[in-house]
């Protein structure tokens, strides 16, 4: 299975190489712009919990910014960044050139067009219902679907040209995730089975699958490629990775209804969702232990390599955040945590901790190899620590505050007491959010250095790794 790793791109022409690198860079740059925008909006919203009049008027009202923040993060930043990485990983691990650079550029235009149109529509109050993560008007979601189809076609075409017989595991995840998400997008758009409670069932399915069958598989695919590259050793168990792939595929689509526990959705549908939320421990523990065993004994390298540190945080968040998700699904805990800020903490621990850290690890590991330009060690250090500490403060404050909020309700206190009790935690959430946002500005600087900066001299270990990776 390791043949893919040695089958490198030596036979590729310089022109094909350049085409791949500029696609990868362009996806990363636009994704970074979306990250800055989306988290800037998030920061503004965080302030509103302490100062509700901060940012007045219709265009800056919380209820419009909330879907702008989530959709721009999901479909602007994370999707574009993951697809850019996905193209690079698919081409490199297959030892092939991109099937079509033109299609890749067309996809990039479509992704950005959708995110831009969606953002503007939401701010003007054009919204397809307050249906989490599918708020964009349906025709804008069709643009996004077109981008997905283009991407899937291009990825399949690229991997079909691979120089070896086997398909490296990363590509299973990347292509699979893209095709599954096409299905999710279609299910979400077709209106005929979405009336009243029927739409609630579809919402449960959608809001969970859009996250876990799109971002998670792509992020895992990136880790399966990046981690062995950075450590220069094969993944601990290829078979375990394959096992996690199929179990994730079988269990994950079934658990969406756990977002509507105690709702009028059929009780059995909720129960099945809870049962399979527990079953999700199998792919989660399988996948994360596979990564950790690959890293085993190499902690000293980790200290010297920020890309590895980012990946390590992503793996730990995958383990902790997903296990937390299983626990949250139990009715006894939902009774306290459901509808509180605890869930907001959970979604940031997973989306930010897993997906975004994996994206950053992938970009820091692969973009310098592609462009031959390095980000400064200080820049990566600042980014890493501010993002990590910020996310820790964010998640901790909302987890503790959310628990108190839930207990206030259980104890039958007047509702307003739960608002008052959250105040201090909202402030800490703002502090964490500010650090996270600042780290993103540093990331922007680092991306600029890696794409357009001078060919800086990196630390000995990293330039060694870069040489190894290219060799």
């Amino acid at each position: 299975m390791q043949t893919e790793f040695t089958a490198e791109h030596s036979h590729l022409s310089e022109r094909d190489n350049r085409a791949l690198i500029s696609v990868f860079s362009a996806y990363t740059v636009t994704a970074t712009l979306w990250l800055l925008f989306a988290t800037g909006v998030g920061l503004l919203m965080a302030f509103k919990f302490g100062a509700p009049e901060f940012g007045p008027g219709a265009w800056l009202t919380f209820g419009r910014l909330r879907p702008i923040h989530t959709n721009a993060t999901f479909y602007g930043f994370a999707s574009i960044a993951l697809v850019g990485l996905g193209y690079y990983v698919a081409a490199r691990s297959s030892g092939a050139k991109l099937y079509s650079a033109t299609l890749a550029w067309a996809g990039l235009v479509l992704f950005n067009l959708a995110a831009l149109a969606g953002t503007i529509a939401l701010d003007l109050g054009y919204i397809d219902g307050d249906l989490e993560y599918r708020e964009w008007p349906w025709w804008i979601r069709l643009i996004f679907l077109a981008a997905l189809v283009v991407t899937a076609w291009n990825l399949i075409g690229t991997v079909a040209r691979r120089s070896s017989d086997d398909i490296y595991l990363s590509n299973w995840y990347i292509i699979g995730g893209t095709l599954w998400t096409c299905i999710i997008a279609v299910v979400a758009i077709v209106p005929w089975y979405q009336y009243g409670l029927g739409q609630v069932a579809v919402s449960g399915f959608y809001m969970h699958n859009a996250v876990g069958m799109w971002f998670t598989p792509l992020a895992l695919g990136i880790i399966y490629y990046t981690l062995p590259k950075l450590l220069n050793r094969p993944i601990y168990s290829y078979a375990l990775g394959v096992f996690a792939f199929w179990t994730n595929l079988l269990f994950y689509p079934i658990i969406g209804a756990h977002h509507f526990e105690f709702s009028p959705l059929p009780w059995w549908l909720q129960t099945i969702a809870i049962v399979f939320s527990v079953a999700m421990l199998v792919p989660v523990w399988g996948g994360s232990s596979n990564f950790l065993l690959t890293m085993r004994g190499r902690t000293s390298d980790m200290v010297h390599s920020y890309p590895l540190m980012f990946i390590f945080v992503a793996v730990m968040s995958y383990l902790i955040g997903s296990t937390q998700g299983t626990l949250e699904a139990f009715r006894s805990l939902q009774e306290v945590w459901h509808l509180t800020n605890f869930t907001v903490g959970h979604s940031h621990l997973t989306m930010y901790g897993i997906i975004v850290f994996a994206i950053w690890g992938g970009i820091y590991a692969l973009l310098p190899v592609a462009t031959g330009k390095q980000a400064s060690k200080l820049g990566m250090a600042l980014h890493f620590w501010m993002a990590l500490v910020g996310c820790f403060i964010y998640v901790t404050s909302l987890s503790v505050g959310g628990t108190i909020q839930g207990l206030d309700w259980v104890h039958g206190l007047p509702f307003i007491q739960s608002v008052v009790d959250m105040q201090g935690y909202y402030v800490w959430r703002g502090v964490g959010g500010l650090l996270m946002f600042l780290s993103h500005t540093v990331f922007g600087w680092n991306v600029w250095r890696m794409c357009y900066g001078p060919g800086a001299v990196a630390s000995p270990l990293e330039s060694l790794r870069a040489e190894e990776a290219v060799a």
Binding site: I167, Y195, V202
Partner: protein
């Protein structure tokens, strides 16, 4: 293409089947759930209001689902499948930064309160962190004939101009007023709905008799409980200082009914609510909701006693048995 087909094609086929099973099929089946008894479609104005609600993302902070849990009883009876027949797009929501609104038309029937609260929530609930929706209002020198300006508290009003709702605000308030749960056929609706003993958390059920036993009947009342109940049910209008809002909600401080030793009227108002109340020579147009269905005799007694002993009031305290007697009287 050899291995691409089984891996990519196979996994996508599996996923398509699962998506149908967990998304599409439940969607088809549940879309057919008929409206429950008493569940009516919205009027044109209410629908328009619902669109304002959706466009401004109200449901990111307000749920519209009452769970069959003790802590949700304050929001109404547990939501039933038939309640959602006319609700597309669905507005169940995922967070309760603010209270659930399933039954807000019953819990807060006063449109005057809703208008003031929408214009600036802190004008009636000082601790609120809801955004002001003042951009759904017009500030004019003088209200057109037939339009009643919003009776804002002094701190939020300008001396020279008045505030009137736009059409969107009127539609939104009409929608909120329409959010009334039709009662269930059985009387168990009020007392908790779907029996689910293992779901019911012991805390609230246990605390009620315990705190009641602290207050020997006829001698005193549980002041902490009375204060909490007042905050949860009354202070949004009558305010924490009992003084209400001039022109909008009557003051309880020094009020004749509250200080009358004969408590019949006081208890009756809490149980049955009030319309077009004439207090101190002023007629208050906003309606007060009845609490007979949501509060027990002991809880009504606690609230009445709290009002009778706060802000310098000194009405004669009442006991739960008096409330029970008033409740038994024909309306």
């Amino acid at each position: 293409m050899n291995k691409l087909v089984p891996i990519v094609g196979g996994s996508t086929l599996v996923y398509a089947c699962l998506a149908c099973m967990m998304g599409v099929l439940p969607g088809i089946e549940l879309s057919k759930v008929p409206a429950g008894p008493g569940v009516e479609p919205l009027t044109a104005l209410q629908s328009e209001g619902r669109e304002v609600y959706v466009a401004n993302g109200c449901s990111y902070c307000h749920t519209q689902q009452v769970r069959p849990l003790n802590q949700d009883k304050v929001f109404g009876r547990p939501s039933a499948a038939g309640d959602f027949a006319y609700q597309t797009p669905e507005l169940l929501g995922s967070e309760r930064t603010g209270p659930d609104l399933t039954n807000i038309g019953v819990r807060q029937p006063s449109s005057v309160w809703q208008y003031i609260h929408l214009y600036n929530p802190r004008a009636v609930v000082p601790e609120s962190i809801m955004p002001s929706f003042n951009w759904l209002f017009d500030v004019v020198d003088q209200a057109a004939s037939g339009v009643t300006p919003i009776p804002l508290p002094k701190a939020y009003a300008s001396a020279r101009s008045v505030v009137v709702p736009t059409h969107k605000a009127e539609a939104l308030i009409a929608y909120l007023a329409s959010l009334r749960q039709p009662p269930w056929a059985g009387t168990e609706a009020v007392s908790g709905g779907r029996p689910m003993p293992d779901m019911v958390s012991p805390t609230t059920t246990a605390s009620a008799p315990a705190s009641a036993s602290l207050a020997p009947p006829g001698i005193g009342y549980d002041a902490a409980k009375g204060a909490a109940l007042f905050t949860a049910n009354c202070s949004a209008c009558h305010q924490a200082n009992g003084e209400g809002l001039p022109g909008a909600f009557p003051s309880l401080k020094g009020d004749a009914v509250v200080n009358d030793d004969e408590a019949t009227k006081h208890i009756q108002v809490v149980l049955r609510g009030l319309h077009d109340a004439k207090v101190g020579g002023l007629v208050y147009g906003s309606a007060m909701p009845p609490f007979a269905a949501t509060l027990s005799d002991a809880e009504v007694a606690d609230i009445v006693d709290y009002e009778r002993s706060s802000w310098g009031n000194h009405g004669k305290p009442v006991i739960a048995a008096q409330v029970a007697a008033e409740r038994a009287k024909a309306q």
